[in-house]
């Protein structure tokens, strides 16, 4: 296996929301061309990690390198220049509700380039075709189903052919068909555009089909970093609870509470 180049390096990052620590001395390296899934319990810092990579959040300590640039230290214009090469798919699409599907996908072209209207039209239709929604170009976001909205958002995110794609829970709340569609699109786009993809997700099945690596977060650190096959056969209780969807295990079912009988009998 060829040695792939490092593209994202997260070094000893700490992050807290006020008093609550979310990420605690976390380090992670991602190589070019990989599809990396980030998993973990809810509130465990997965979305925070995406925020740090995208430069929307600043770690209290530690560094986040994208192609050798330390993201938290970048000036606004340098950060914006970097973001032109990063695409992000937000959890529910985050389409601009006052613009049509076509206008949403055309947005990055209009804002970041000087292309002619004809050129933009061609490119937008091509991107929509890639996600299977060219026929929906004139619809408004409110007229789209969840799965369709997310596909449009995906088309919008890849308009400028980014080198890095960030996905925030792309499968959450979708029917199985849509999940399959999005999963296939992620894999195809990653290969076709030579991207590196980071997916924050809860959906294990789809992830195991897609990802090259699965990174599980726990207690603000990387708990494990395995290939999908290794996840399937792991005997670690935490991973097993996660993979098999067991109600109780290292992540307890019961919220910490007093003794049950005592609580019932208390007047």
């Amino acid at each position: 296996m060829s040695e792939r180049q490092e593209i994202i390096r997260i070094e000893n990052v700490r992050f807290a929301y006020g008093e609550r620590p979310i990420l605690d001395d976390l380090s992670l390296t991602i190589r070019r061309g990989e599809i990396v899934a980030i998993m973990g319990a809810s509130g465990g810092g997965k979305t925070t990690l995406l925020g740090l990579i995208g430069g929307r959040l600043t770690p209290s300590t530690g560094r986040v390198f994208i192609e050798d640039q330390n993201v938290p230290a970048l000036s606004k214009s340098a950060l914006y220049a970097l973001r032109r090469r990063i695409g992000m798919l937000f959890q529910f699409g985050a389409l601009f509700t006052d613009l049509s599907v076509f206008e949403n996908v055309a947005f990055p072209y209009r804002e970041q380039t000087d292309l002619s209207e004809d050129m933009i039209r061609t490119l937008v239709l091509m991107k929509l075709e890639a996600v299977g929604l060219r026929g929906a170009a004139q619809l408004m976001p409110s007229e789209l189903s969840g799965g369709m909205a997310r596909r449009v958002a995906l088309a919008r995110a890849v308009t400028l052919d980014p080198s890095i794609m960030l996905y925030d829970e792309p499968f959450t709340g979708l029917d199985p068909i849509s999940v399959g569609i999005i999963g296939r699109l992620i894999k195809r786009l990653n290969a076709a555009l030579g991207m590196t993809s980071i997916i924050v997700t809860h959906d294990l099945n789809e992830t195991l089909r897609l990802a090259d690596r699965v990174v599980v977060l726990s207690a603000g650190k990387v708990y494990c970093d395995l290939a999908p096959d290794d996840i399937r056969v792991s005997t670690d209780p935490f991973i097993r609870q996660f993979a098999d969807g067991l109600p109780d295990g290292p992540v307890p079912f019961h919220y910490p509470a007093r003794d049950y009988v005592g609580d019932l009998l208390a007047s």
């Binding site: 995208g54 929307r56 914006y80 220049a81 973001r83 032109r84 990063i86 992000m88 937000f90 959890q91 529910f92 985050a94 389409l95 601009f96 509700t97 947005f107 990055p108 804002e111 970041q112 958002a153 919008r156």
Partner: protein, 265 residues
Amino acid sequence: MKADPISLLTSLGHAVTSRLDRLGLAARFAFAVFRVLGVVFLRFGLIIRELYFSGVRSLSIVIVSGLFVGMVLAVQGYEVLQRYGSTEALGVIVALSLVRELGPVVSALLFAGRASSAVTAEIGLMRATDQLAAMDMMAVDPLARVIAPRFLAAIFSLPLLAALFSAAGVCGAWIIGVKLIGIDDGAFWSQMQASVDVRIDIVNGVLKSIVFGVAVGLISVFEGFFAVPTAEGVSTATTRTVVTSSLAVLLLDLVLTVMMFRGLN
């Protein structure tokens, strides 16, 4: 059991510091908005769009309200003036009340209730649905593209709306005073023209509107931008915009009126 004075002091202290905190945040936000204003003028289409939604859509309520306020002024004014036999001064008091005070202030209050609340709700909703974050991640500054045009729309709209309010008011007063009550038409206009000075009254009224526009514009975009991204958060932000804007307009009106009209004697 907690000692009551202590907890009272703590909550009082907290109330003050949290408000100062927010004020500081608002000030930094205002500076950030002013910094991008230059760039925004190049995207005139965005400003025009917001002028439509804030200004044009407020036309009907402002003109109708102005008409009614003018009519009421005429009725009340006549009732008082005719006791002193000075009914031909009706035009004067109506015009001065409108141009100096009611035009700028009431149109600003109406704008705050109608247009500003809509702006706050819109921006708050964009915040709640990650649209602002998505724009930011696409390397487009939301301050320049979403916030600043709406801010500028308030500043440009208010002087025009105030003028329309005052004009409608004068017409309303004329309808009541001259047409219905029977005051002399010539006296109505000539007395008015003799007393309303363009520099002192009209220009100052326009200046007031511009100041109100800055205040109301800033408040509405600020509350929307920092709204808690939930349904209640947006609703709270919207009501806060209306309340804070109204209070700000009235307070600024007091300050400006003293500054502008005190030395006239």
